[in-house]
């Protein structure tokens, strides 16, 4: 009994000493833990984040960042709204949809300011302009943002919905269907599927970009909850600063950024696909209205353009001004 008590006392003393040593080791700089959920599984568009993570840009701003894959922009926005994650990488249409439905989220800066939405197809289809789509099958995924903006594309190019044959397939199935030749074209993001399909099939893929044919709107950017902006705006500002820096540096060091994603992301596409995807992504960072500005800096006019487009083609009543969806003060100018 005495021996048991003595060893127990000794153990307690040892543990206490260890505890205080550990506390000392932690005190220099406590990093804030934060999670970023992407809009989809990691692909070339996300190279800048992995580059920033690897180079410590987020640590420099006091953030211990974890990057999680997502399952669609809508799910990411809802995870942010529910407070499950601090930062979401999601597209503007999803932000607009969710905010109009009552979610308390805001975009703090769109990075892909030109939408990558496009019609994608094998070059052998010989489609060079929208009117060539007449009579073709188009794979779409019901409910997603592309599905909602396709009518805008058709209308802007004087096509009627009956001119094309729409086939509904889930996002992953769309690629298989195109490669297998079950559909002529699909709607997707040309910085995502096109490089993947080219690499898988070995055949060249052409695209009709929505932005080139009368339908441009904001794409992916950073989303946070209203709660975070109220309770910890400095964290949002720090994250935005690190993100902008990551994008600027990644653009200057593309190969390194791609290598960072290949190393740090689980199950990312092969390196050459990543590189191709990232190159295409970098072409989307600005509109005429934001030329010369840092990536992620938006303006009210571009936001209004996106809002008007979606208010028209989705079931949004009382769309509201840009300030309902975007807080430009976090990114600064």
């Amino acid at each position: 009994m005495h021996r048991l008590l003595r060893s127990f006392a000794a153990l307690t003393v040892v543990l206490a000493l260890c505890g205080s040593q550990a506390a000392n080791a932690q005190s220099p700089k406590a990093l804030k833990k934060a999670t970023l959920m992407l809009n989809w599984y990691p692909y070339g568009e996300h190279a800048a984040f992995y580059y920033g993570l690897q180079k410590g840009f987020f640590k420099d701003e006091g953030i211990d960042l974890t990057i999680q894959p997502g399952g669609g922009s809508a799910k990411t926005v809802q995870a942010v709204a529910a407070g499950q994650i601090q930062f979401g990488w999601a597209d503007a249409p999803s932000v607009i949809k969710n905010v109009s439905a009552g979610a308390s989220v805001k975009s703090i800066g769109v990075f892909l300011q030109t939408t990558p939405a496009s019609i994608e197809y094998f070059a052998t289809q010989n489609i060079h302009k929208p009117s060539d789509l007449k009579g073709k099958t188009v794979a779409v995924t019901p409910g997603d943002a592309l599905f909602q903006t396709f009518p805008a594309f058709l209308a802007a190019n004087k096509l009627s919905p009956d001119d094309v044959h729409q086939v509904n397939i889930d996002p992953a199935g769309k690629l298989a269907a195109l490669i297998e030749g079950k559909v002529d074209t699909l709607i997707g993001f040309f910085n995502d599927q096109a490089p993947t399909i080219e690499q898988r099939s070995g055949k060249k893929v052409d695209v009709l970009k929505f932005a080139d044919h009368g339908v441009n709107f904001y794409g992916t950017g950073v989303v946070v909850s209203d709660d975070l902006l109220k309770s910890d705006a400095p964290l949002a500002k720090a994250f935005m600063k690190a993100t902008i820096r990551s994008w600027e540096e990644a653009e200057k060091h593309r190969a390194d950024a791609v290598a960072a994603e290949e190393t740090l992301a689980e199950k990312a596409p092969p390196k050459d696909v990543l590189a191709h995807q990232f190159d295409l992504t970098l072409s989307l960072l600005h509109t005429p209205g934001s030329k010369g500005k840092k990536p992620g800096i938006n303006n009210a006019k571009d936001w209004q353009n996106t809002i008007d487009l979606f208010a028209k083609y989705s079931e949004i009543k009382n769309a509201g001004p840009p300030s309902a969806y975007w807080d430009g003060s976090i990114a600064g100018s």
Binding site: A74, N98, G143, N168, D170, G173, K182
Partner: protein, 263 residues
């Protein structure tokens, strides 16, 4: 079988679930009215009722398609499932080769293979029926095998001594003895067939409740989403009740039915 007494019994038995449903309705109304849940995630019951009123024809049109896929899928699942069950019971070799394959087919999540079916079978109704069959046939097989094996061996001996051929033994003794178990499997299978049809529609469809649910989800139209889910549940419940009624007619002699007679 009991006469008017059973109607009174049904009514007497109905007040408990009715009260429970009322309680659920009250809780649901309260939670949306008090703002415990966001309206774009869970709509108020009245919004759902308004949705039925507003989009009744749309819901009916899509329900018809899903119902067709479910029923056809279920019928095929029963035929295939019972065929497998008979083969397994009558042949050791078949049992040893088929059982592991059936287990694999059951365990693989259908939502992962459904896109493959769409690519192979096209965008029509066939892949949805196939998914419904794959999800629903396993309980039929298992209950079929269990049922076909629970026959009293003395009855089988009797049949043999009287010189009955195999098929007559099956038809007159084995199969009727297996029916109680089989009906249990059918009840499980029919609810799974609904799920299967909808999962198939999630992956590639232009019509049906699954398609409607996707649209509702994408548009954050929570009332339509809930309306679709309620209709789906009703399909399952109605089909389940139909099987119960069929069971009542097929097995009036079964021990589980004797309680009604005594009441």
């Amino acid at each position: 079988m009991a006469g008017s007494g059973s109607i009174r019994d049904t009514l007497e038995g109905a007040w408990r679930p009715a009260l429970f449903l009322l309680g659920v309705l009250v809780l649901w109304s309260a939670s949306t009215a008090l703002g415990w849940v966001k309206p774009y995630l869970v709509p108020s019951p009245w919004a759902v009722v308004a949705e039925f009123h507003h989009d009744g024809a749309l819901l009916a049109k899509h329900t018809e398609i899903t119902l067709f896929e479910t029923v056809v899928g279920f019928v095929v699942a029963v035929a295939v499932g019972l065929a497998f069950a008979v083969a397994i019971v009558y042949s050791r070799t078949v049992e040893r080769t088929l059982y592991p394959l059936l287990l694999v087919a059951q365990v693989i999540p259908k939502i992962a293979v459904a896109p493959l079916f769409v690519v192979w079978l096209g965008f029509g109704i066939a892949p949805k029926i196939l998914v419904a069959v794959l999800i629903a046939f396993f309980p039929v097989v298992i209950s079929g095998v269990a049922g076909l094996r629970t026959v009293d061996p003395e009855l089988l001996d009797l049949s043999a001594t009287m010189g009955a051929p195999q098929w007559k033994t099956f038809l007159k003794i084995r199969f009727p003895a297996a029916l109680p178990q089989i009906f249990a499997g059918l009840k499980v299978a029919v609810t799974l067939a609904v799920t299967g049809a909808v999962v198939g529609e999630f992956v590639g469809a232009n019509q049906g409740l699954g398609y409607l649910l996707l649209i509702a989800n994408g548009n954050l139209n929570a009332p339509l989403l809930f309306a679709g889910l309620i209709v789906m549940s009703l399909i399952g419940i109605v089909l389940f009740l139909l099987i119960e009624i069929a069971e009542k007619f097929a097995l009036p002699w079964h021990v589980s039915r004797r309680r009604d007679l005594l009441a």
